[in-house]
Point group: C2
Chain length 564, copies 2
């Protein structure tokens, strides 16, 4: 099969090498050529922050196989039988003549390559915000190996240094941790009211608090106006919140798909200038496929077109494209926007729709904030894990999960991703047979507990109030009785302003301390709000009528707390 | 609702307290009484091995809420409004009169309790093998808090000590680790040819090897004949493999459901003497429910009745029973036999059907052994994770996953449990949007890589050979060419007996070292068999006809290896 089929792949970083290798495995007689603009092949771009921090010691590890073989053109030729033209830029596509024109960047030589099937794996480029000063020395992006080397060289040169990260997305957060690791004082500047917009506001606030606890200054709702320099070197960043003196700036405001080639060739483009593809990863020209950070994707829940460039998706799409080119049927169904990142001691993970996304998509949304230890609570290695579940009220289906904290959030997000893909309801999730032993999870896994709390809410057993709603009520001076049912010791450590303490075990006997008026607005809570829920039931049975349980308890309160 | 409904719950360890608390939450006017034979309520039996080892320091932690409140009768009364009769044994049920007769163990007083609904949460008891000597001093089971205290007291008394564990199941393995942790020399004796029969043979062998590397002697296919004592104290264990001198014996040969009450009351029993229940957790008497370690369950894949007592299942069933008693509709669908345990540095986890179970259930089975790092391989914290995937050839559906190794197997097993529950195929699993970042997973998650290898197999792209099949061929003296394509350095460290080494990168140039006869049986492999797969393709293209890839490579070879 594929006798002599000529396949040209443009791009040899993530999706490209995957497509090429897979095609040649299935059609050993095919002639597969990869054209790569850069000097580096098949490298793990996602690993760059860890190379900058020194966690990954050698650049070569990022472009090696798991057993340490460097994936260079010799490797591709000898092992994969794929011909790689490195430092060669594809400049145009002649669709009718089925030719790709390219130029060797080192020699300037022009070449042309015939193709039967063409694959565009052109990736993305960092977006440079349209402000003054982005070309000054020590202003970086972090996209390729050269960027990482530049940052490392700068760090090696200057001992004490301040750094400003422009943009609070995934890459911004990862490089922040890397720079703190190397001893930098970091300020993060984000235009939106929160960092990590893949999370809902209150979850992002908890991540910001964790970053600030680690010495990072996080400025949200802050617009960068200009980067100042002196003698061509960056000196300060001017923002809507004032001037920040700095030795270094890293711009991490997202990427844009590289689609000039596709556009010039007349292929249809999609959301955000991406290349439009069908589920076979075929562009509007049936002989041209595309995969990876340059293509449009579909959200599996909303069916909306979107753009979420990730290495994991690129690899899957590469495989699908290769299968179809090799004459097999395969399709890439779409994405859930699953993502995870390490933020100091926190794992920050999410899948599906956030509350905001779900509401925007027209769902009647219910949410749950559920913090609890990620392992049996009596195990010393148990760590706090804070979950936010988003469900569709009507169907009871899970729409999204956000997980933050030192606990194993990635594990719950992966189980949830499978559950969402299958359209599972809360009832189904609450009976999932997840594996249990004390060193790995609580007897009721965190995901199952959160699903049960959601069922309680959907069935009307408990009325919750989100931290933000409560804060709005507090700020507007509404008459509220805030009842904290934790122990006295816990209450004396840290508390929410204005709360009154009656430990749960004493509540039945101390009901006289609750305002007599049975119509009083009461908000009950504890550390994680399980005791709060019990307290609510006790008050309800004692006749009070307006009781709400604070979602997520004191642990997930994203506003100021009092430390007496 | 439930005005004055009288509910009696027999058993207050796992399912019992769950049922009681949940009912009272939903029906505050109900009268709920728990009758518990033992002194300890609502304790985490699964935590006992960690209490024995000292990882959990205080017994009270096992019976506390996550915030450290001990769940004693006072707690149940004040917080939950549940009346608990501890050290009270239910002796009979009068179904027509709707009464439970019980006896206070301390006083001998007899009491009777009226019920509208009765819940049997009577749990299970350790099985004592019918051999001589099990009543000797220092012969233990590990089921309740008293057992753990007995073992701890014995350990505190004697400094140097040998221990024999009879039974290589989950509890046997967990207590082995605990005892090694306290300084014991442990011998495990298992009657079957492998420990952990929830795993397939070759996976269990890898766990045995890990235990032996930690100093545990594992004797499989070994029958215990008698426990010898001197002056009433255990001295040795006589087995079909000889006599083992020992200071202590722990019998961990499984548990049996406590169903005498149910049987005497004429309720229908199921598999292994369990109480038969429907999906509402209702016994054959509609006013009597049962949940936890005493009931029959259904396997979600085969629909066969089975008995897999676990704390996680007990909690879920308790909730379902409570909902139905409270007049709500709820059902417990069944189990996948998901389980996990910590075995020294290994996480050992599984869900669904093993190869053997799947074959016995009549499936046309295909399997994959897939070892790889559990995080991006360039991250220093990446650890080896060895997966075994079991699929149905006909439908391509995932039937089971086994995960062992230092890597995060529980995470992949939980995602697989959700996928199996949803009936997902390999194609669906290979496109799951699992979350990715280098500190948490490889770009292609281990589960996805394994699913892709399975797709290659199911589509006929590669022919695998299991370690056991290969060993049989080797032992029977078949003419084989064993080609190890790892690097020379790897080959010199450790190898499979009889293998020839040609590193993958040189294979195209060194084909003359492969036997000329194109019909030679060739088995190719590397460390994890990805390079082995590439090598197979190279040989196939060069004309060899009988090439198989060794599943799991050198890493998952469960037989003797040579260390030159």
């Amino acid at each position: 099969m594929g006798k002599g089929m000529k396949v040209v792949v443009i791009g040899a970083v993530a999706a490209g090498p995957k497509v090429a290798s897979k095609i040649i495995r299935q059609m050993p007689d095919a002639e597969v050529t990869c054209v790569e603009k850069g000097r580096f092949l098949s490298y793990a771009g996602c690993g760059l922050p860890y190379y900058v921090s020194g966690v990954v010691e050698d650049q070569a590890e990022l472009m090696s196989t798991p057993v340490g073989v460097v994936r260079d053109p010799v490797f591709f030729r000898n092992v994969k039988n794929v011909h790689v033209l490195e430092q060669t830029e594809a400049v145009s596509i002649d669709r009718s003549g089925k030719k790709v024109y390219a130029k060797d960047i080192r020699t300037g030589n022009e070449i042309s390559l015939d193709y039967d099937k063409l694959v565009l794996a052109t990736g993305a480029s960092p977006f440079i915000p349209p402000i003054e000063g982005t070309k000054l020395k020590n202003v970086f992006t972090l996209h390729g190996v050269d960027d990482a080397e530049g940052i490392k060289a700068m760090l090696a040169e200057h001992k004490a240094r301040d750094a400003v990260i422009i943009g609070g997305g995934l890459i911004g957060v990862e490089i922040t941790e890397s720079l703190v690791h190397t001893g930098c004082r970091v300020t993060m500047v984000e235009m939106m009211p929160q960092i990590l917009t893949m999370l809902d506001w209150e979850m992002a606030k908890l991540v910001e608090q964790h970053m600030e606890a680690k010495g990072v200054k996080v400025l949200t709702s802050t617009k960068v106006e200009k980067v100042d320099g002196k003698s061509g070197v960056v000196e300060a960043v001017r923002t809507s919140n004032g001037k920040i003196c700095t030795d270094m700036v890293i711009m991490a405001v997202g990427v844009r798909p590289n689609t000039k080639l596709a556009k010039d060739a007349g292929l249809e483009l999609g959301v955000g200038g991406t290349i439009k593809v069908n589920q076979k990863m075929q562009t509007t020209d049936p002989d041209i496929y595309a995969a990876g950070d340059c293509v449009e994707m579909e959200n599996l829940i909303t069916k909306d077109k979107c753009y979420v460039p990730l290495g994991s998706t690129a690899n899957k799409q590469g495989r699908v494209a290769a299968n179809n080119i090799s004459g097999r049927k395969d399709s890439f169904p779409g994405i859930l926007g699953s993502a995870v990142c390490k933020v100091f001691d926190f794992c920050v993970a999410r899948t599906g729709l956030s509350e905001e996304q779900a509401a925007n998509a027209g769902f009647d949304v219910e949410t749950v904030l559920s913090p609890s230890p990620d392992k049996a609570h009596f195990m010393p290695e148990a760590k706090m894990l804070m979950l936010k579940l988003v469900a569709d009220k009507k169907s009871g289906r899970l729409l999204g999960l956000q997980a933050i904290g030192p606990g194993a959030g990635d594990k719950r997000v992966d189980a949830a991703a499978a559950a969402i893909s299958a359209g599972m309801t809360m009832e189904q999730i609450s009976n999932l047979d997840l594996c249990y032993a004390p060193p790995f999870s609580p007897a009721m896994d965190n995901l199952i507990t959160a699903a049960n709390v959601m069922r309680n809410k959907l069935e009307g057993d408990m009325e919750g109030i989100s931290p933000r709603e409560l804060k709005d009520k507090m700020d507007s001076g509404e008459d509220l009785f805030l009842l904290d049912v934790r122990s006295e010791g816990e209450f004396n450590e840290v508390r929410i302003p204005g709360a009154v303490n009656i430990p749960l075990g004493m509540l039945r006997k101390r009901l006289d301390e609750v305002p007599e008026d049975k119509n009083t607005q009461i908000v009950v809570f504890c550390k994680i709000s399980l005791r709060g829920y019990e307290a609510g039931l006790i008050l309800e049975n004692a006749g009070w009528k307006d009781i709400k349980v604070l979602d997520g308890g004191v642990v997930m309160w994203p506003f100021e707390k009092i430390t007496p």
